[in-house]
């Protein structure tokens, strides 16, 4: 494909209609999420996350790595036994003992992961391309002999030679694999490259594809969407984007981007998002940044005068979805960027009516106070400020009267 063709094709995909029934999410919080340096889930936590994800409506859960044995295997076994609506998948190297461990856990699907890039084949595996294909094929054969749904993961696909990757896809398909996971292991693709490469594989091989994207350059979500536009039907996500290094495509961001930017409504219970995100943040010993897209809360915290004006006139001026859609609340704070409308509104919420002149004077006072304390003011401080201001203006009036 020439650059011009790609760009025309890319352009044409803007606004294209996608049937929500064609898109499925496979959440890997419990596998790639836990694989993050420093993150360990307790088994009860894993089970709770699996239940929550199922309740939200996810299609498949990647529950862990049975080959690790011990606690990990127990957790996967328990999740597989929960009788969830979603499919439960386990991660494996394409090795008999790994897959046998998955079979023991009772999962209905397996991911068989192996690197397809020369750089990994040479440096990490220290093997050959032929060895990779044979090993992968043997893995698929074994998994299929146990009637498992099989996803073949091309690790480091984004640094793989396209010709070999096509050969890899062909081998997987011929062996009976159900889908191919395209792993941008290092997060080095942009939406253009993603689109081009994924489209190429789908056009030539006609395989079902899944996107596994990383956020190293902040493009995990956009790349996942580019994959979908190119024809991929699965996306591998994690709650909060939890994952190695800069993390993966965030589950909640992808669901909402699909719904509100792409017009693809998966019908998930999004109002549980904040709860789910908070839970995962806590059990991974992280805080949920206030500015985290979708669930951070800051999107619905208003300080800026122009924005407050707009929201009060009609939330559609600055919001594509409602705060309650994701389990959040709208808040108004007063700070350096507050103005007459925002102060009048906030005072009203606090049960105090102020007129335009008062609001204008309060703007100055509040601005100075916020700069001095280097933060937005608490409600109690706002009320105190108002009281001071009222007392002062009374004294001034009284004083003036005396002068006369």
């Amino acid at each position: 494909m020439t650059e011009l063709d790609l760009l025309t094709d890319f352009s044409q995909k803007a606004g294209v209609t996608i049937d929500p029934k064609d898109i499925k999410l496979d959440d890997t919080t419990l596998r790639d999420g836990e694989q993050t340096a420093g993150v360990v889930f307790a088994n009860d936590e894993k089970i709770y996350i699996a239940k929550m994800l199922d309740k939200v409506g996810v299609h498949q859960i990647e529950a862990g790595i049975p080959a690790m044995g011990g606690d990990e295997k127990d957790a996967i076994k328990k999740i597989a036994g929960l009788n969830l609506n979603c499919s439960v998948l386990a991660w494996n190297r394409p090795v008999k003992s790994d897959i046998q461990a998955s079979v023991d856990c009772g999962v209905d699907a397996v991911a068989l992961s192996i690197s397809s890039s020369d750089i990994h084949i040479e440096h990490k595996l220290q093997k050959s391309r032929e060895w990779v294909l044979e090993t992968m094929k043997a893995g698929v054969d074994f998994a299929k002999s146990h009637n498992l749904y099989v996803s073949v993961n091309a690790e480091d696909a984004s640094r793989s030679d396209m010709e070999f990757l096509l050969q890899f896809a062909r081998t997987a398909k011929d062996a009976g694999a159900d889908r191919l996971r395209y792993c941008d292991t290092l997060g080095i693709l942009d939406p253009f490259e993603t689109f081009l490469r994924v489209k190429n594989i789908i056009d030539i091989m006609g395989v079902d594809m899944e996107m596994h994207t990383h956020n190293d350059f902040g493009m995990a979500i956009a790349n996942a969407i580019a994959g979908i536009k190119a024809g991929a039907i699965y996306v591998n996500t994690t709650i909060n984007g939890l994952g190695e290094r800069a993390g993966n495509a965030a589950f909640e961001e992808l669901v909402m981007a699909l719904k509100y930017v792409e017009g693809v409504d998966l019908g998930f219970n999004t109002n549980l998002f904040r709860n789910l995100s908070e839970y995962v943040a806590r059990v991974s010993s992280r805080v949920l940044p206030t500015w985290k897209p979708i669930v951070g809360g800051n999107l619905f915290v208003y300080e800026d005068e122009d924005k407050v004006k707009g929201i009060l006139a009609d939330p559609v001026t600055y919001e594509l979805f409602k705060e309650t859609d994701v389990g959040l609340e709208r808040q108004y704070v007063l700070g350096k960027y507050s103005g007459i409308s925002s102060i009048t509104h906030k005072m009203d919420m606090l049960g105090v009516k102020v007129d335009k002149k008062q609001a204008k004077e309060l703007v100055e006072i509040i601005r100075k106070k916020t700069v001095a304390s280097k933060r937005a003011l608490f409600d109690i401080e706002i009320l105190d400020t108002y009281k001071e201001y009222k007392d002062k203006s009374k004294t001034v009036k009284y004083g003036k009267g005396k002068d006369k």
Binding site: Q35, D190, M219, P293, N298, V371
Partner: protein, 391 residues
């Protein structure tokens, strides 16, 4: 391949001190504003938005101080499309301004309660005043991504005709994905020969990708902020855009990237935030490796799991020993302390570290590794002694 190898000049304008500070709850002191401006300048960021003169008082004071700091970056002030605002801005000695007004019908109707004719007249008026005051100005279209394209093109032509320096397209409500961004920007570029700048929000996590798509579509300039700090969910992060341009688009901006971690930390502290460990480019976790497969790969050759060297952004690589570590990580980690383990020892210790890490629900400190090692050694010694006694 699809990648464009043409050498292009891309402009970066940083709004940490303007839209960054506008974030609910974030307030910079004068000292901090000057420091941030200096750091951006030293890094080589060509343009900086320093603040909003319309706020008056304290803000004016800060802007004046930054103007006096003798920076090589070009400094811009931000104002609404109001005559008073523009006069105030010119009054404090600012030479370059960003003049903002909303162009979407939704905003016109709900926010301004006016029509398109009013907007066109207002735009003419403010540009006349800006020209008269000898200001260099960028016209910024708020909510441009929900604006009728034909009307937007009309506004852009008008701005070009009246001497604007360039035109800013704001995706105020994060309405766009990279596909639409690319299509709209390339359409504008194909219709009007005029520099375009993009301003993206991160509501759906696509700010950086949209910025890159706009550049692909022909935009010459992009608004960024350190760590993506900005109102709501923030903007395209400066460090992500610079590194993505360098590594994914082969556009070298000549920016001193080794200072990125330091700047990110400073801005985070000044805004009472922490840099999340997983923050793309500058988070400490970006170069921390725990999982057996990954750590093993990194030990064999960093290229296996790293695109650029951590030192390039002022970070260091860490090997973390936790639940997902493998025996190679253990071998390597102990080698850092001049202890050469045998394969058997590494495997035995791996079992112990994994159990402890699951128990503690976190990776282990180096000291804890040493405790495990010492206990293991003394136990196996006792074991050997016992065997000797028994035999």
């Amino acid at each position: 391949m699809a990648k464009s190898k043409k050498v292009r000049k891309i402009n970066i304008i940083d709004t940490t001190m303007r839209n960054g500070e506008k974030t609910a709850g974030v307030v910079f002191s004068k000292h901090e504003k000057i420091r941030i401006a200096k750091m951006l300048d030293e890094t080589g960021i060509p343009e900086i938005e320093v603040g909003t003169p319309g706020l008056g008082g304290v803000e004016t004071d800060m802007i004046k101080a930054v103007l006096k700091a003798n920076l090589s970056s070009r400094l811009y002030a931000y104002c609404n499309a109001e005559i008073e605002d523009i006069k105030t801005t010119a009054g404090i000695g600012v030479k370059n301004v960003v003049i903002n007004l909303s162009t979407s019908d939704i905003h016109l109707k709900k926010l301004y309660k006016e029509n398109r004719t009013w907007l066109v007249n207002r735009l003419r008026e403010v540009m006349r005043v800006a020209n008269k005051l000898d200001l260099k100005f960028i016209i910024s279209a708020e909510d441009a991504t929900r604006t009728d394209l034909e009307f937007l093109l009309k506004i852009i032509s008008l701005s070009k005709k009246k001497g604007a320096e360039r035109f800013r397209i704001c995706d105020t409500v994060s309405k766009f994905d990279p596909f639409r961004t690319f299509m709209i920007i390339s359409t504008i570029k194909n219709t009007i020969d005029f520099p375009i700048e993009v301003y993206n929000h991160n509501d759906f996590g696509m700010a950086t990708a949209n910025g890159m798509a706009a550049i692909r579509g022909g935009a010459e300039s992009i608004v960024v902020s350190v760590g993506g700090l900005g109102d709501g969910t923030g903007n395209a992060a400066m460090e992500e855009i610079v590194m993505a341009l360098k590594y994914l688009e082969n556009v070298e901006l000549g920016i001193e990237t080794t200072k990125f971690r330091e700047i990110a930390e400073y801005v985070a502290k000044a805004s009472s935030r922490a840099v999340p460990v997983w923050k793309a480019i500058v988070g400490t976790n970006v170069f921390a490796h725990e999982s057996g497969i990954h750590a093993d790969g990194v030990i064999k050759n960093p290229k296996n799991y790293e695109v650029f060297n951590p030192a390039e952004v002022g970070l260091t690589r860490q090997l973390v020993v936790g639940k997902h570590s493998g025996s190679h990580t253990i071998l390597h980690k102990f080698k850092e302390y001049d202890i050469d383990l045998t394969d058997k020892e590494a495997n035995d210790i791996l079992v112990l570290t994994r159990a402890m890490s699951v128990d503690l629900k976190r990776p282990l400190f180096d000291k804890e590794l040493m405790y495990i090692y010492n206990e293991y050694k003394s136990k196996s010694k006792k074991g050997t002694e016992k065997e000797e006694v028994n035999s």
